[in-house]
Symmetry: C2
């Protein structure tokens, strides 16, 4: 069975999509077979691979609203071993329609259980910056929650509420949910960044990945060229750090 990872934080702009895409590309580069699922109606993960969410017919919302299997809405990307279930703006409807339905949180988990067990080694789910129905589905299905946190004042404050949500999910729909925090967009020249990193390392070091992802303008450029960092700028600091993070992932699950 694939190891299921959700990348989630309701704080906006902390590199959820960048982390999901970069990890997916690094794991595929290592020879694993990876399925990425874009659960954000803004479809940034879908866009960053050069796909146009407005013109796609087979997307994630079909797996939620119609009875389509995940495999029927997934597609290959240009990267060998990296498939995607793309998003479309219709996903925003899912949030509204499913809320309140019986056991709505388990919909994605059921779809993932129906996948052929040997098809994928890893599933990576990118979430929107919100706690809606789609995010609850991702957290219910996941074995590991990766929480990207930027070393900035607001993001460090929001950590508390995502950790509270995780405890709630563990109590209600997914007792096995494990979680780990990755510091992203770290700028060693910035005083606040250094202060917040020190604070996190001294108070919650057991929840942190060893790898810290630093600021790298190549990471900011790569979505405009429809390529993950391992293709767009494979030798840069960002690519190396995401490879190191992917290696740390191997200790979980499998």
């Amino acid at each position: 069975h694939p190891f299921i990872i959700a990348v989630c934080n309701h704080k906006g702009g902390v590199a959820k999509t960048t982390t999901c895409l970069s990890l997916g590309a690094c794991l595929a580069e290592m020879g694993f077979s990876v399925l990425m699922i874009d659960l954000d109606p803004q479809a940034h993960l879908t866009l960053s691979l050069g796909l146009n969410p407005e013109t796609l017919h087979r997307t994630g919302s079909d797996a939620f609203l119609a009875n389509n299997s995940l495999i029927s809405v997934s597609r290959e990307t240009d990267i060998l071993g990296l498939d995607i279930v793309p998003a479309s703006p219709q996903l925003a409807l899912v949030d509204k329609i499913m809320y309140g339905r019986d056991a709505y949180e388990y919909h994605l988990k059921r779809r993932l259980n129906a996948l052929d067990a040997n098809l994928y080694d890893y599933v990576l789910i990118d979430c929107a910056p919100a706690f809606g129905t789609l995010t609850l589905n991702a957290l219910t299905a996941a074995e590991l929650l990766i929480i990207p946190v930027q070393c900035e004042y607001y993001a460090a404050k929001s950590l508390r509420s995502i950790l509270n949500l995780t405890k709630l999910i563990r109590r209600k729909t997914n007792a096995d949910l494990n979680y780990q925090i990755v510091m992203t967009m770290y700028d060693r020249r910035n005083r606040i960044c250094r202060i917040i990193r020190d604070q996190m390392e001294s108070s919650i070091s057991h929840l942190l990945f060893n790898t810290v992802i630093e600021v790298d303008t190549k990471l900011r450029e790569s979505p405009a060229y429809a390529q993950p960092i391992t293709r767009y700028a494979p030798e840069t600091r960002g690519a190396q750090q995401y490879r190191a993070l992917a290696k740390e992932l191997l200790h979980f699950g499998k």
Copy 2:
């Protein structure tokens, strides 16, 4: 009657909260009387003024869930002429409870109409990175929507969906909604930033404020010191640019 402005974009981390706080502080510095409303359950606007959302008893959710007036849940800040209706985590409940109720989009507008007409010159509303019930309330109540857009690939792509939402709101609940885009966190050394800025200026210059807000680490530091930029670092580029943006606002409405 106060001029009502919503600051909104479902793309995360584009400086909605920073823009709301900085504009509020600049308008107060010019002698206007300003009310800021924090409609994000993450309460970052509230936090950035040194308030603790977990311990507050009178917050915005009381104006939605109970029958409290806005004035009864607002409070002064350390800045003369700048008041705030703080947020708390309970606001997340409002989203769920109000959805589907009759004319739920007009709730905030009704509360604002009940305010004494001479109390405030400006009302600034900070929104969460989502299109939920609270954001619909802000867009229904506002006369001007300020859309902060970062000059990055994803943010430029998301522009289309926020403009579509604005057209929908104009048709359904607020025919007078005007909107204008401000480029934020602009980094002149970054190639993608320059490309995206040029693209926006050549295609939609009529929708853009003249002022562009550039990257300034003092803006990133100021929330950690519970002060808006006009107090924390009043002479920096960030403070000057937000003052220029506040001056542009004077051409609207009043």
